[in-house]
Amino acid sequence: MEIKPKIKSIPYEEWNDNESLEKIVDELHEGGVNVITGSLDKLINWGRANSLWSLTFATSCCGIEFMACGCARYDFARFGFEVTRNSPRQADLIMCAGTITHKMAPALKRLYDEMAEPKYVIAVGGCAISGGPFKSSYHVVKGIEEIIPVDVFIPGCPPRPEAIMYGMMQLQRKVKIEKFFGGANHKQTAEEAALGVSNEELTFREKHGDHRREPIVVTDVPEEFTEELKNSRIEELKEEAKA
């Protein structure tokens, strides 16, 4: 079963960066694709790719271009992106539009951790990709990939709305190849992949310790109970000796 994301009106060959997409397909489907689950994947991914809800995370200039995308002239409702959420719990992706400073970095990390899987990140503009024009500043994060994994980079300062839409459609293609049934279904950090748990879980463990592996220790057991246990064990041994 061949997996190739189709976007209406743009042929597959005309997209940039098909190689990395194909690499992801190969990695995800090393063991072959099951016809039934593969078809189900296609159906689910079709739905998910066409209703990507973004978290409005606009810190500076790029955010205005993102707004322009949503408004009359560009109107990205055509692709199903028009719903923006202000709560990370309801969002599918972070449009990180703008510079991330050291004071903002913990907030970005927290918002990412609060999002439900599957979640995606788009880095919009030079600042989010590498620090951009503010690379030499003492208070700017040199690219958000230092903090959270990024799925699509949209270069520009700020990128034009056309570029933002191209980037969103690239993400759509990425969503369309994913494997919902069985296996990881999106890009994870190295830690996440190694442990097979989500980022949220990792953060929880960092703060409160590994809550699953704590041994159960029972104290103040009644004496009669231990006596009984001992006696029964002795009887068992006696019976064994007889046999």
């Binding site: 510079t99 004071k103 024009p133 030499s136 500043s137 003492y138 208070h139």
Partner: protein
């Protein structure tokens, strides 16, 4: 404006500043510039204006200092022991706007202000080590993803009877205060502003603004750049006022260099500034509508904004960030279609502005929502330095284009829009009226752009002569100025902006005390703050 500093004796400083306000009428504190003067030590430059005569003056004060430890300046924790603490008397009791301005100076230079009730960091995290704008600060760009443990008190410094520096803690919150954080990630704060709001039921008791979530230290970066390099960063401040910001920066450098511009440059800069103002005000009307829940009103404004952007884009090549002005003129000449496009735009926009009023501005819900919302009287506006349309809505004639005319503004006919409602509704209406004025200005200039050079050739390496200058323009939401201290090098010794929004954010607290929390959103929308401009 070339700055000629007044200077006072340290002990008489507070009294002399009071005199400047009371006797000489300097009632508007434009900005406080913290500076590391090198051998002279740390200090501040105060720029003042008399709002009646529009005369300006500047005061330079060098801070005194004491070594902490042995019972001096202990803040209770002892972690400042051994450090040299510079101090100056506060002026925040004379001009209320100094509250945030002094906290900014403290944040970047570590100068404490005696008598200021709340000496906390303003932009940087409270666990930030050192004072980054000092010349001897060792560069460090490490960061942590841990949450910042913010203090719940502000330090107040004072001199005891022996002349030793002491501090005491002022609690920020009462024990049963209900505090909510609005932001930094909130759709109605227009960026990453955080307002820590103390509530009593639904009524606002106090607002503490927390800034710096988009602080990129542009002023510090400038100190390591050549003059032409500094230009690129201004467009990324208030990206809706990119032209004006750059105008102030090239203006101050040109004034220092003594460049004579051709009339063509002046005409084009004036037209571009006004186009930018239209762009910003259109987005403003959209955002007010959106923040109050009228999404249709937003789409109308954004639709027409694209027409303005088209006109600018054909000449400058940029949509949002144009990078058009440079030292000595413009990047390039105007597009052959520019004149025609501008005329078409004016013709198109004039009737459509009425459309926003029809769909949103004249709506009874809008009136009920915005009238008497976030009120501020004329005296308070001056005291808190609420410039721009927000101040003009209280009747303060503060338009820099009229008071300190630059380029063509004194040669065209236009009116300064002032209203007397002092509330959010009038702030909205001032914006609407200003759009008509911008159209008037463009109309008068567009047919008469004279022939000439669009660029006056400059030396390949630009070096400003020694001295201090301050140049301001009317930005989209208030006065935007740049202070330049040059020591004759190819990069500035110190450059500081007067952001438009910092004083507006400082005015939230007096505006909104006793108002409902929903009015906070409406006031925030109607006052037009853009956070990257505040944080720089």
């Amino acid at each position: 404006m070339k700055l000629e500093f007044l200077s006072f004796e340290f002990d008489k400083f507070a009294q002399e500043m009071q005199n400047l306000k009371d006797k000489k009428g300097f009632d508007y504190l434009v900005t406080i510039v913290g500076e590391d003067f090198g051998d002279e030590g740390l200090g501040c430059v105060y720029i003042l204006e008399n709002t009646k005569t529009h005369e300006r003056c500047s005061v330079k004060m060098i801070a005194k200092s004491q070594v902490c430890g042995d019972g001096i300046a202990s803040n209770g924790t002892g972690d400042t022991d051994g450090q040299v603490l510079a101090y100056l008397p506060t002026v925040s009791n004379i001009w209320r706007v100094a509250d945030l301005l002094e906290r900014e100076v403290f944040d970047f230079y570590g100068i404490v202000f005696l008598g200021h009730p709340d000496m906390r960091r303003l932009f940087l995290r409270s666990d930030f080590k050192g004072y980054p704008f000092r010349k001897d600060w060792a560069f460090n760009d490490k960061y942590t993803l841990e949450d910042d443990e913010e203090p719940d008190y502000g330090l107040e410094y004072f001199l005891d009877n022996d002349g030793n520096l002491q501090s005491k803690q002022n609690r920020l919150f009462g024990s049963d205060d209900y505090v909510i954080n609005i932001g930094p990630q909130h759709p109605a704060t227009h960026g990453v502003l955080r307002l820590q709001t103390v509530l009593d039921g639904e009524t606002v008791k106090r607002i503490y603004p927390h800034l710096g979530y988009i602080h990129r230290a542009i002023e510090k970066m400038w100190e390591g750049m050549t003059y032409p390099q500094t230009l690129a960063l201004t467009d990324r401040l208030n990206y809706l006022g990119a032209m004006q910001h750059r105008h102030a920066l090239v203006g101050v450098i040109e004034e220092a260099l003594g460049v004579e511009l051709t009339d063509r440059i002046k005409y084009i800069r004036t037209i571009m500034d006004e186009l930018q103002r239209l762009d910003s005000h259109l987005l403003y009307t959209s955002c007010v509508a959106q923040d109050l829940g009228a999404l249709t009103g937003m789409l109308y404004g954004m639709r027409d904004r694209e027409h303005v952007l088209n006109v600018m884009e054909e000449t400058t090549g940029g949509r949002l960030i144009q990078n058009y002005y440079r030292i000595g003129g413009l990047q390039d000449d105007i597009d052959p279609n520019f004149v025609k496009n501008c005329k078409d735009l004016v013709k198109y926009l004039r009737p459509t502005i009425q459309e926003y009023m029809d769909i949103f501005g004249d709506n009874v819900i809008t009136h009920n929502r915005l009238e008497n919302c976030g009120p501020m009287s004329l005296e308070d506006c001056i005291n808190y330095a609420v410039t721009g349309p927000a101040g003009r809505a209280s009747g303060w004639k503060n338009d820099v284009r009229k008071n300190h005319p630059y380029d063509m503004y004194d040669k065209v006919e236009w009116e300064q829009c002032t209203l007397t409602g002092c509330d959010s509704m009038d702030r909205y209406l001032v914006h609407i009226n200003e759009m008509y004025q911008s159209l008037n200005i463009i109309e008068q200039l567009i047919d008469n752009i004279p022939e000439g050079d669009f660029y006056v050739k400059q030396k390949p390496i630009i070096k400003c002569p020694e001295g201090q200058w301050y140049y301001s323009v009317e930005g989209v939401a208030g006065e935007f100025g740049v202070y330049l201290d040059s020591r004759g090098d190819k990069s500035p010794y110190r450059m500081k902006m007067r952001p438009m929004g910092l004083s507006l954010v400082g005015a939230f607290d007096p505006m909104l005390r006793g108002q409902k929390i929903a009015d906070l959103i409406a006031t925030c929308a109607a006052i037009d703050v853009v956070i990257p401009d505040i944080d720089r």
